[in-house]
């Protein structure tokens, strides 16, 4: 078909035989409101066909259209001199020096994982890998940020076990190391696990490619797996709340992953990009061919025309509606330069993959779909991709949360029996305990680039051929965000930055995954708005622009929402990998120095959850100016080679942070002798989760210099004790109390806990 025919202004698309009539009920089933459907009619200038309704339903779903988030997301800082690609592409890209760039992004797969944990998580990893290699970057690391209910529920253990296996199997097979992440367990996530996967990819500046359909006349090619009937309307599904019977009914909307095909697709895509035979490439992710083709057209200001009969399908008889909305995995849409299609085909053949010409780039700005020559959909591309109505809603804080926040915690300052007992209980709590049971199921050393493996503050990957390395972390304490969304989001950004400086990396940029409940509910929208504001403020203060991310709403089951969980994925650059630091104590005799102040804030702490099953109180205060000074101080100390170790204080407070440094990876545990003279209740001093604190160690001969560097940066610092050998025991004394334990007992609590829970034989009947 010639482009001339495509420029016709009058559009027509024929309903297919068997298409259901467009009724208000059908429109509602497609997740469009009356007003939204009115807008569809205006855009079209006529009634849409069933096929066109399906296309709008997907593109104007929350998942693709960001209708309830877009306006607020504009508040996030997105620019900096080192940002090469900001939001709007498959992934953000930043300059990391020496001619290299880093592509990175985080994405959620919460809904599928709630229904089918193994495939849900696996395809989540698959999707984020494709977002990275379609930028021309080779994936070099994966992180996963997970949330589940309490592990005493067998269903939660099933979800947790399945998700970990899914994340592991997919990444392991493709051969991308998992370098870290986080997991939290709290009843607030019981019905709705959170599964966010982040990927980092490395590229040379000149290899960057974007997802746009440029060059009128160029050929659209479907590459990789065939299109089947799986995952139809997954994007719309992800834009709804779950209910008790979501399991069975929604399973067909969950896709099945094939990491082997993904690995071939990865190699083939990078070879395609290097060949210069293609001008654009995009994953067929959420909303499949529809979103990839229309978005690529929209970005280039062009149109596309696709022939359904040319799309390789898995089964006969698939309708255009099904083909357009299928979310079958491991498929790509590429734009081949006209005349070079055979080069594309040759590369794909080498990797034993299929490539089919399915359409072309047009100059008329329309998203047009043919079925054996007959037009079945004809929609202006820009309104389809950009015209989704966006809303800014009324947000009102929930009274319940307000009450929880102002709860009186004074009774909890009285120790519940022995402090050491509480300490060991905290160390063995799944939220504090070692995540070894998880990350030993993930290949963390493939590609021979992993310098800091999972288990530390941040994972680190070296850049071969340079002295540089990149560090990455994911962070969010959902309890803090629940109790005070704005402050909680600021804490998430601050903690991510602290984690990076603890390995010696300069915090550089952010990708975020905003996991929330139903935004149509005023108290949820309040959380969302406040969290975005807090995040914007912190990212601004730390000069860490947001280069992209993902919003996942409707994380609710039977009306109960998760804690608002804006996960921060932050990356940082280490200029000299020889200068990096780790969290484990290095040698007996080293001085332990605390940077930052103890304030003894128990609100939202793990201590309250473990001892009283309580999520209440004012979350710890966060001072962005002080945090920034702290980051600079630690980086200066690392740069001057004064640090023997560094570790952020978070869940479980100072006592647990000291324990983590002392235990290290378990091979050479140390002891600790610390005395604190703060005028605080023992429980608050030991287990409070005050922000802005980093524990460092140094050679005693350089302690004076360390304190001077801290003072120069206006950071409170003091020597609080020293590292001993393991036989010296672990002893932390505060005013009127102390924790005293033997490192072997601590190691058993810390390293053994998760395995004991997960490997316990099932109780009969469970």
């Amino acid at each position: 078909m010639s482009t001339a025919e495509g420029t016709a202004t009058e559009t027509h698309a024929s309903p297919r035989p068997g298409d259901p009539p467009i009724t208000p009920e059908l429109v509602a089933e497609h997740g469009l409101s009356e007003e939204e459907f009115e807008r569809v009619r205006r855009v079209m200038g006529r009634e849409p066909t069933f096929t066109e309704l399906g296309v709008f339903s997907a593109m104007w779903s929350e998942h693709c259209g960001y209708k309830n988030s877009k306006r607020l997301l504009r508040l996030l800082p997105t620019k900096a001199p080192w940002v090469i690609q900001g939001p709007g592409e498959n992934a953000g890209v930043i300059d990391i020096g020496d001619g290299y760039a880093l592509a990175f992004k985080i994405e959620s797969h919460n809904h599928p994982s709630a229904v089918e944990p193994y495939q849900g998580a696996a395809t989540g990893v698959g999707g984020i890998l494709r977002d990275i290699f379609t930028m021309g970057a080779r994936p070099v690391a994966v992180l996963d940020s997970l949330r589940f209910g309490d592990l005493d529920d067998p269903r939660v253990r099933y979800l947790f076990g399945g998700v970990v296996r899914g994340v592991g199997d997919y990444g392991n097979c493709v051969g991308v190391p998992n370098i870290g992440g986080e997991v939290a367990f709290d009843r607030g996530y019981a019905g709705n696990p959170i599964v966010n996967a982040m990927c980092l990819g490395l590229l040379k500046h000149e290899d960057l490619i974007t997802a746009s359909a440029s060059g009128v006349g160029n050929t659209l090619m479907a590459v990789g797996a065939r299109t089947g009937r799986d995952g139809i309307h997954g994007a719309t599904f992800a834009s709804e709340e779950l209910s008790g019977d979501s399991d069975e009914a929604s399973r067909p909307q969950v896709q099945v992953g094939d990491p082997f095909t993904e690995k071939l697709l990865l190699e083939a895509s990078l070879e395609l990009i290097a060949s210069g035979a293609i001008t654009g490439i995009q994953d067929m992710g959420a909303a499949g061919i529809t979103s990839s083709a229309s978005e690529m057209a929209g970005r280039a200001g062009n149109g596309v025309e696709i022939e359904m009969a040319d799309v390789p399908v898995r089964e006969a008889g698939m309708t255009p509606y099904e083909i357009l909305l299928s979310e079958s995995q491991e498929r790509m849409l590429v734009v081949a330069e006209r005349g070079r299609e055979h080069e594309v085909r040759r590369i794909l053949e080498k990797w034993e993959l299929e490539a089919a010409e399915i359409g072309r780039v047009t100059d008329d700005g329309r998203f047009r779909v043919l079925e054996s020559g007959a037009v079945v959909a004809d929609i202006p591309a820009l309104p389809l991709t950009q015209g989704c109505p966006t809303y800014e809603r009324e947000g009102v804080e929930s009274e319940d949360v307000r009450a929880l926040r102002s709860a009186d915690l004074s009774e909890h300052l009285i120790p519940q029996g022995d402090l050491t007992r509480s300490f060991l209980l905290l160390l063995s709590s799944p939220n504090v305990a070692s995540k070894r049971w998880i990350y030993e199921q993930y290949d963390s050393t493939v590609r021979t680039g992993t310098v800091v493996r999972p288990g530390g503050d941040a994972g680190v990957i070296r850049i071969r051929g340079t002295d540089r390395a990149v560090a990455a972390t994911t962070d969010c304490n959902g309890r803090f965000v629940y109790l005070a969304p704005r402050r909680g989001a600021m804490i998430a950004v601050a903690e991510a930055a602290r984690n990076l400086v603890c390995v010696g990396a300069v915090p550089t940029a952010v990708t975020n995954n905003l996991n929330f409940g139903n935004p149509l509910k005023p108290h949820i929208y309040f959380q969302f708005r406040q969290a975005v504001l807090g995040m914007a403020e912190a990212c601004e203060a730390f000069e860490t622009p947001v280069t992209g991310g993902n919003v996942s709403f409707y994380n609710e089951t039977d009306g109960r929402a998760i804690y608002p969980t804006p996960v921060i994925g932050m990356v940082g650059v280490i200029e000299d990998v020889g200068r990096l630091t780790r969290q484990a104590f290095r040698a007996a005799g080293d001085d332990i120095v605390l940077l930052g102040e103890n304030r003894g804030e128990l609100g939202g702490s793990e201590y309250l959850y473990v001892t009283a099953r309580l999520v209440a109180g004012e979350p710890p205060a966060v001072d962005l100016v002080a945090e920034r000074a702290l980051q600079h101080a630690v980086l200066a100390l690392a740069h001057e080679g004064l640090l023997r170790s560094a570790h952020d204080c978070s869940e479980g407070g100072l006592a647990c942070a000291l324990a983590e440094c002392a235990l290290g990876d378990g091979t050479t545990p140390h002891g600790v002798r610390v005395e604190l003279d703060d005028d605080l209740a023992p429980v608050a001093a030991l287990f409070g989760e005050d922000q802005g604190r980093i524990l460092i160690t140094c050679d005693p001969s350089s302690t004076g210099e360390v304190l001077r560097v801290a003072e120069r940066h206006d950071v409170p610092a003091r020597r609080i004790g020293s590292v001993t050998d393991a036989k010296g025991g672990f002893r932390v004394a505060v005013r009127s109390g102390s924790v005293s334990a033997d490192p072997a007992t601590m190691a058993d609590a810390y390293f053994g806990s998760l395995a004991r829970i997960m490997d316990a034989p099932l109780e009969p009947g469970a």
Partner: protein, 231 residues
């Protein structure tokens, strides 16, 4: 020394192995559909998930065209080393006895393990000492070495067990065994001593920055072994 690194669809340690091989010789990737290994002094089969581990790990890769050449190369006495999935391919191709089955834990196991060098007089271990304990990463789901008793007894009698999983004191205990391998076997050679398979990844332990250099010996030994046999 000219070293071939065979790449199957789904191999994912090929690049790591190539880098390690480059330190001791001149390495080149050989795609599984290429033919002819006459130009090479040694052949390496990398880890990964050839053909997605579908059917059985290594079962499809061993039918690749290049495997005929690998077999001929091995029968001619050329050194062949298979690591992880490469070990599985060598067993499937009957170049080594036994098989690698699902880990006893039924989970993927990724961590550092300790290996005892059972003999330092093979083509692949000459730079180690007998009894030396190495720290090297594993990363596999199907690494449990099994064979019938007669085969295991023969392997022991002929001193063909090259590496065993051990604890920090060098003892081959059950606790030190990460995958349930019979007799804690981590690596073996064929009768002639020119074909070795091992589950742990020596190529991931060749730089201090990455945590260990204990794996370098496998590659330096191979280089000196090849040089010695050439002179």
């Amino acid at each position: 020394m000219r070293i071939a690194v065979i790449t199957f669809p789904g191999s994912n340690c090929d690049y790591d192995l190539y880098k390690a091989a480059q330190r001791v010789g001149e390495a080149r990737f050989v795609w599984h559909r290429e033919r002819g290994l006459d130009d090479f002094d040694a052949v390496l089969l990398p880890g990964g998930f050839s053909y997605g581990d579908y059917l059985r790990p290594g079962a499809i890769a061993r039918m690749s065209p290049i495997m005929e050449d690998v077999t001929a190369f091995a029968r001619g006495g050329g050194p062949v080393l298979g690591i992880c999935n490469g070990f599985q391919v060598l067993c499937e191709a009957s170049l080594l006895p036994g098989a690698l089955v699902r880990n006893a834990s039924l989970r993927f196991e990724s961590r550092d393990v300790l290996l005892r060098v059972e003999r330092a007089d093979t083509l692949f271990t000459g730079d180690y000492r007998d009894g030396q304990v190495l720290r090297i990463p594993i990363a596999h789901g199907d690494g449990s070495y099994v064979a019938d008793d007669a085969t295991l007894d023969a392997l022991e009698a002929e001193r063909r067990v090259v590496f065993r999983y051990v604890d920090a004191s060098g003892e081959a205990t059950a606790a030190a065994n990460p995958n349930g391998s019979l007799r804690n076997i981590a690596g073996i050679v064929n009768e002639r001593g020119n074909v070795m398979g091992m589950m742990p990844h020596p190529e991931r332990a060749t730089e201090e920055l990455l945590g260990s250099t204990d794996g370098s010996g496998v590659f330096t030994s191979l280089a000196s072994g090849v040089a010695a046999s050439a002179s």
